[in-house]
Each structure stands twice: as C-alpha cells, then as structure tokens.
Subunit: 505 residues, 2 copies
C-alpha cells in the first residue's frame, strides 16, 4: 500500500512509522511489528506504531529522527509492506532456551541493534538472556568482533598503540587523566576514549570536559594522538561500536549489566581505537560491579583470553573498589584534584593507581622492567603535567591550566562527625547519591569532597564531607540526602551505655 | 520544578511526559526514569521521555492518552519531581535471580502494570523472568488474585454460574459458540468472555462479532446472562483483569507466552466473571502452546490445584491440537460453519468437542451423570440453535440468523492436490498464515476452508483448500503463501523413482 508521509513534532531515537488503526489492520499489522518502507528506489525497515487519532487513512507518521535518518519529507509517497520479524529475534529466543550463539547469529543480533531494527523489548530480552543464561568466551569474542565491525575504526600506521580502561562503578576513579599523559610522555600512543556518567556522579569524559572538548571524531582522535601522543575523548561521540550505547540505554532501565556485556563494551571500544596493548582496571568491592576477588579473577581471565583471541594483549588489575578513589567526586572537583596531584600539591591512592596502571603498560610494551618506577620517574620529572597540558591544548583547552583556575560550586555545606573514632567504611552509593542530588554531572561544579577515608581518625566536630552545588535548592536536597543516607561508618563509638544495676549484682 | 503542559498530536498507550534535554538533565533524569507530576491537588507517576526538539525549556509534553487519563489541558502548570524506581522492579530482579515472589510482591507488580507505572522494558523482564525461572502454583494464584482485584468484577446473586475456555492456539476452535447455548439451554448461567485474534486468523470474539455485538460492559454481560442464560463477549472490553491485555501486548512482541501467564490469563477472566465451575480446553500438539501430553497433564493439574485454592471448580480436557477443528478458518467462514452444524447440515469434530465440553460442565454441576449424552439430547432437540439465536438477539444481532445468510469473501481460489494418497497432517501454522494473508481477521469474509483433513483420501485434482478473500490483492498474496508454505502432507506419494540399472543387477 502507498502512504503519504506526515512528519510529527516529536523525536524518538527509533526508526518507526505511525499508521492509522484501520490501515494497520488492513495490512494485518500490530504495534511492534515491522514494515519495509520503500521510497525513491531506497528502502528501510521500521517499527509500526498505531495511532487512533491524528494519523488519517493513507498517512504514515514519522518523527524527525526517522525523517532525517531516512531522508523523508512531508508528502513523500512511500510504499509500505509487512516485513518478517528479523531472524535475530529467533536467535535471542534460542539463547533464552539455553543455547549457544553461532558466530553468524550474534553478528546478526548486533547488526540489528546497531541499525535500530530491534525494539527495546527485544533488546531487553537479549540482555536478560545473556545475564541469566550467560555467554561463553567465544560468544563474547564474536559479539565484540560484530560490535567493532559495524562501527567506525581508527587505524594507526606507526607507533605502539596502547590503551587503558576501567570496568567502572567506582566514584572518583579518574586515574587515567594522570596515567594517559604519563604513558604518552614515554612515547607510546594512547587514544583513550571514555564514557560519561549514566548512574554515577561523573565519568572520565565529564571530568575531562571541564578542561577541554571531548566530543571528538575518529579523525580528530587519530590526528591528536599522532601529534601529542594521547587524547581523552568521549567514546559515544566517536561512532566506534555503536551498538554499545543502545544496549547500555536499555540496561540502565533494567538496572543490569551482564558481565559478558561489560567485557564486550570495554574491549570493543579498545579494539575500535586501534590499541594493541590494553590495561584493564577491575574495581572489586561488595557494592561494585565485580562483587569479590574470586569473581574478579575469573572475569580477568576471561578478558585476557578473549583479548588474546582478538589479537589484543590484555593485562588486568584488580583494585580496591570499596571506597572512592581520591577525595573529590563531581566533574570540576575531580579535575581540580587531578591537577593538584600533577602539580605535586598532594599524593595518595589516586596517584598510586595512575602510576600503577601506566606501569603495567610500560612492562607490557617492554619499555621498562619496573613499570611503576618508570612511571614515577616520568611523573616526578614534571613530564606528566607538561604532556597533560599539551593534550588539553590539542583538545581546545587552556595550555596553561592550573588547579586553582578551576571553579567549583559556590554553595557549600560541610557535614561534621558527631562522634569520635576511626572511619571503617565510606559508602560509595551514598556519596554518589549526594553528589548527584547536588547537581553532578550536569552542574559541572557540583559534587562532594571526602575529608576522611577508611582508617583515618576523626574527632567530634571534624569535617567528614563537603557538598558543593551551583544552585541553592540542589544543595538543600543534597543536605537532606546526606542526613538520611549514612555515608560513613565510624568505629570506636558507644551507641548505648547501660549502668550496672543492682538486680544483677 | 514547574512545567507548562504542551499537548502533543500523538497517542501512545502509556503515561509519559516529554521534557527538554536541558530540563531533564537539570532534574538528573534520563529517558525511562519516572517522575511524579502534581497538579491541582492530584498527582500521578509518569515515565520520562527526552526530546531534543519541539519541547522548550519549562514545557512538559503529553500525548492525548496521558492528557485524558490525568485530566490535563494545554497550559496547565504542573510540578514535576523525580520519582524513585517502583519497588516492583526490584521484585522482578529478585525473580531473575531465582527467588520466589511473596504475595505482596506479585500484587505490587500487577498493580504497577495495571496502572501503567511499569515500562515495556520492565514488563518484558517480568515475562522473561517468569518464563525462565518459572512460578510455583501459589505464586500463580496470588498473581490471579491481584489481576482480578484491580479490575471490574461480575457478581451473580443467584443461579449456577459456569464457564468454559480454551488455552488457545488451534485454528477453527469455535466450539464454544455451540457449547455455550447448549449449557445455557440446560438452565445454567454462562457469561462467556473470549479474546480476539492476535496471531491467529480469528478469535471466538471475532467470529461471534459476525453475528452480534461483542463489545459488552460487565453490566451488559450480567443483564444478558440473567435474561437468556448466556453471552459471548470480548474479554478486553469488559475491564476484567486489565493487566492481562498489557502483558499479552508485550508477550506478542517477544513471541512468548509463559505457562504461568497462560493459566493466570484464563483463570483471572473466569474468576472476574463470577464463574464457580470452569471447563478448560487444552489443545495438545507439536506446534500448539502445549507441546505434548505430559506437559498437558502437568499443566492441567496445576490449573485444577490453583482453581481449587481460588474457590473455583476446574475441569480440564486435553484435546487434539494437531490440526484445525472443523474445516473453516476465518471469522465469517467459522460463523457459517457453526450455524450449519447447529442447523444439522453436518456433524464432525467441531460438534463432538462442543458437546464434550458442555457435558463436562453438566457432570461437574450434577445436572447429568452422562454429560455428553445430556448435551447431545439438548442439541438434537433443537434447543441449542434456539438458545444461540436468543443470545445473538440479546447481543443486538438477527434473531432469525441462518448459515446461508452469512456472506463470505467473493474472491476465491481452490488449491488442488497434484498427487494421490491420504492426508497425514494439516499444518496449523500454514493454514493460519494463508488465512491471515487473505485478510482474516480484519476482513471478516476472508479465510480458508479445509476440504481434506487427516486420514482422508485424496485423488489427484481433488480440492485441498479454498481461500476466500474480500480483496483481489490479498487473494493473490494468499495464493503465493499457499504455494510456498506446504499446508498438507500426503502419504503414499512417490517422490522420486529410480529405474533399476544394469550396474547393480
């Protein structure tokens, strides 16, 4: 049947056409079915929505996303015919029944996800099947190959290309802003791509964005990396492994990230960037993505095996994921802290981790027998800060950037301890919740500064954390969260005291 | 934050608000998150969508469904605040991890589904968790209680209220159009509700609609049942157990119907209609919803146990689901065939099944020791046809309806056998595909008439099936399907013949 295009004043990130109820029934279509839309010698597959109003008989409504993606304008006359359910849905059903994907099957699924042929409901079935039934290493490998294949790729003609990545889930985990320039200062190429916060208070890309532009194309990444040795860019902007973003969007709603998907997400990005040597940070902790050391080890082994089969040299580091890294949480606060470290204003776990991860890459590539020592030497020489400023400048930022230049939220509130003792734990989830309520990552200056970490001694009245916000109402909400979600556990505290009574003497 | 309502020229069957990207970020919201919308002392929960265009800062877009459901008009000023993820999502996650639902948990899930608080992605997680992990009988019972509780109910003050239902999946399975009037003619009350086709060529409600109005409210169902003894209405129009339709809509996209959901769907509708005695038809066959007799028996046992705990007397009948019931598939063709049977023009499996199911209800209620015999007596006396016409008239149809009055599609094509032999099988799926392509269920007159069923002998040139359509182009498409999807398997056929060669003599 022929339909006249009607553009709708809406934008949903899916390829869909809206038909009148009558026309849909005429074609035997129900909402969620697929149709092939042909126009001007081209065709595409779209999901059907049915509207009881606004769309007349003979009309096909499309949102601006679909109109642009498929070059349709108002009044175009298109041919619409029912399109069989994609094969990939059948493969997902097989996995639900406990089967193993064939190489071609997982390839087909990933390509359907990338080209918006699978609906959210089908993507959620894919995620749940992989979470519950699981995936073997070769299935994950094929998934990664498929993810890389449908996206953009960077190919470096010369140089040793390395990369680093964290599995994530740890607040303040901004070591790569120090490790990347350290690695680049040693002459390696490191085209580092990173994510923005989804459920966290800041992603590496959000923190870097305080200092420079992170929305770089693959061509820009290649050019800057070849020029200054490194880059820190937002991965979703690159077009590398585009299925990843679509899967993550649905995972967010399900509050699930199956381990096979975590591996595929990290390795596909690294492979697409042209890296040959990769160091992976796996934070382990009861509330992290990897719950304990045993799971961490098996996860690390899988990553290394899959990497090997993909031609990637992978090293992994299980790291402490039980409390925030460094003391700052929130884009500007983290950027400031990272610069303070590079300016040698203070040391600590953030610097140790950065040098440790950089060191792993030095050992993998044969640059040094003791990688950590080599990294520290570069850092001490001031080359890390120098290289970082070069990278910032190459990405359009201020080449003379200093920690003191970074503005943070001017609405602040400091929470103090009402008791005396030592910090037993700092709750990652509470800290993130407070920082997000204060406005992070949207308000760059918002976040939390943690004054006391595990093992540190507090007296009554000592500051525990300071909340930074850009808006008064967000600060108020964050204070409320801080007062209800206990972020610190402090030992040596008398909770209740009973005086010995005569009745038991 | 305060937002001005902007109504959008669209209708989606979900409670949602569209915010600008900037406002969503300001509130820390991502697509799929929930917000509480307050207005004029009332409030509701909505899902967030984010639009990069059309929705300005300070505006909240709503489709007409949301506007009506929540009494919003253009320019209303509403307060929008983030709303925590509903508890029910957590319960679904627990099931994914293998847990058993508590009574309150499944109640919360069903009530969230009924009130559109769960997104399609979350409903799909619910379906997949129940399919893969499974549900125990008491969990299914609680699910049914919750489904009935949130919907409309019929309470009969007097009379013995019975009902019948098929688990479905069998083309031509229209026995209840004969069984309901037979049961009603014996003085029982039978407020039968039935579904429309989703993936089949006709549902009982589609077939009945050829003769009468099936969009009846619970009040109309009660009134007609008390007046003439029975009714055949469309279940979704009643408002009984409304969560069922929402779950089925997502199941359709997943091509899944978990057995616990099948049971809950059937029993919740029957319970909501006020039935005390229920006969359940369970078609068994390799391509039916119930794959084999063993699965059928365990399914039947669960249905009976769950029914008992709900205060329902349930009898089940495993029936042949391997080939269509009767010979007609499609709304008008089936209505015609049912009337022909009642007019005693021919007998066969359709009549046998109708009398068998009616007989089960006669035995359950103590009306007769040999229920089948009693049902046949009523049928032979002409009371079945008489009562059917009363029901049709009470539902606004023609009280003198005759088989010959029913119009079927005038575009026809008959497929003949090219070989000689006996029919080994008739493929349900192929028959349904041909009938749907011919226009069923939308085009009431479209469908398929099966001339030869299993065991019947065919000669070359004998008609196998006739396709009926209302439109020439649909007939052409259906012929193409009939020529590619083999609907009949015929034995005694020489596929290839080899002449004995000298080389092996």
């Amino acid at each position: 049947m022929k339909f006249r295009i009607k553009t709708l004043p809406l934008r949903t990130e899916r390829i869909a056409v809206v038909l009148s109820q009558d026309d849909a029934a005429e074609l035997g279509l129900l909402p969620g079915d697929r149709v092939k839309v042909s126009y001007d010698g081209k065709s595409f597959v779209a999901e059907v929505e049915v509207s009881q109003e606004f769309i007349g008989s003979g009309e096909a409504g499309v949102c601006s996303f679909t109109a642009e993606a498929c070059s349709l304008t108002e009044e175009c006359l298109v041919e619409i015919v029912p399109f069989a359910r994609p094969k990939s849905v059948e493969y997902i059903r097989k996995k639900l029944d406990g089967a193993k994907y064939e190489r071609e099957e997982i390839k087909d699924i990933i390509s359907s996800i990338s080209s918006d042929i699978l609906s959210d409901i089908e993507i959620s079935a894919f995620i749940l099947a992989n979470e519950i039934v699981g995936m073997l290493n070769d299935e994950i490998q094929w998934m990664i190959e498929a993810m890389v294949e449908v996206g953009k790729k960077i190919v470096f003609e010369r140089g040793t290309v390395v990369d680093m990545h964290s599995v994530g889930g740890l607040p303040g985990n901004r070591f790569s802003l120090i490790a990347v320039p350290t690695v680049a200062a040693a002459g390696l190429l490191i085209p580092k791509t990173a994510s923005r916060a989804i459920t966290s208070a800041s992603g590496t890309a959000d923190t870097m964005e305080v200092l420079a532009n992170v929305n770089l194309s693959v061509d820009e990444i290649k050019e800057i990396t070849e020029e200054v040795g490194g880059v820190i860019a937002w991965n979703a902007a690159t077009g590398i492994a585009p299925a990843d973003e679509k899967i993550i969007r649905v995972e967010y709603q399900l509050e699930l990230s199956p381990k096979p998907h975590l591996m595929a997400s990290v390795l596909s990005k690294k492979l697409g960037c042209g890296a040959k040597f990769v160091a992976i940070d796996i934070p382990v902790g009861s509330k992290a993505k990897i719950e304990n050391v045993d799971v961490g080890r098996s996860f690390a082994n899988s990553m290394m095996e899959i990497g090997r089969n993909l031609g990637l040299k992978v090293a992994t580091a299980l790291t402490d994921g039980s409390q925030p890294l460094g003391r700052a949480i929130g884009p500007a606060l983290e950027a400031k802290e990272v610069l303070e470290v590079m300016e040698k204003k203070h040391e600590g776990d953030l610097l140790e981790k950065a040098l440790g991860i950089a060191g792993i890459l030095f050992e993998m590539t044969g640059i040094a027998a003791n990688g950590y020592q080599h990294a520290r030497k570069i850092f001490e020489s001031g080359k890390t800060l120098e290289k970082f400023r070069e990278i910032v400048a190459a990405q359009g930022g201020d080449e003379n950037i200093k920690a003191e230049d970074i503005a943070v939220g001017d609405k602040t509130y400091t929470l103090t301890s009402s008791v005396e003792g030592a910090v037993v734990s700092v709750n990652n989830k509470s800290i993130v919740k407070i920082a997000r309520t204060a406005g992070a990552p949207k308000d760059k200056g918002a976040g939390v500064y943690v004054h006391k970490k595990r093992g540190e001694v507090v007296k009554a009245g000592d500051p525990l954390l300071t909340i930074y916000a850009e808006k008064e109402w967000k600060l108020d909400n964050a204070i409320e969260v801080a007062n209800t979600k206990q972020a610190f556990e402090i030992s040596g505290v008398i909770i209740e005291r009973y005086t010995m009574g005569r009745w038991w003497s």
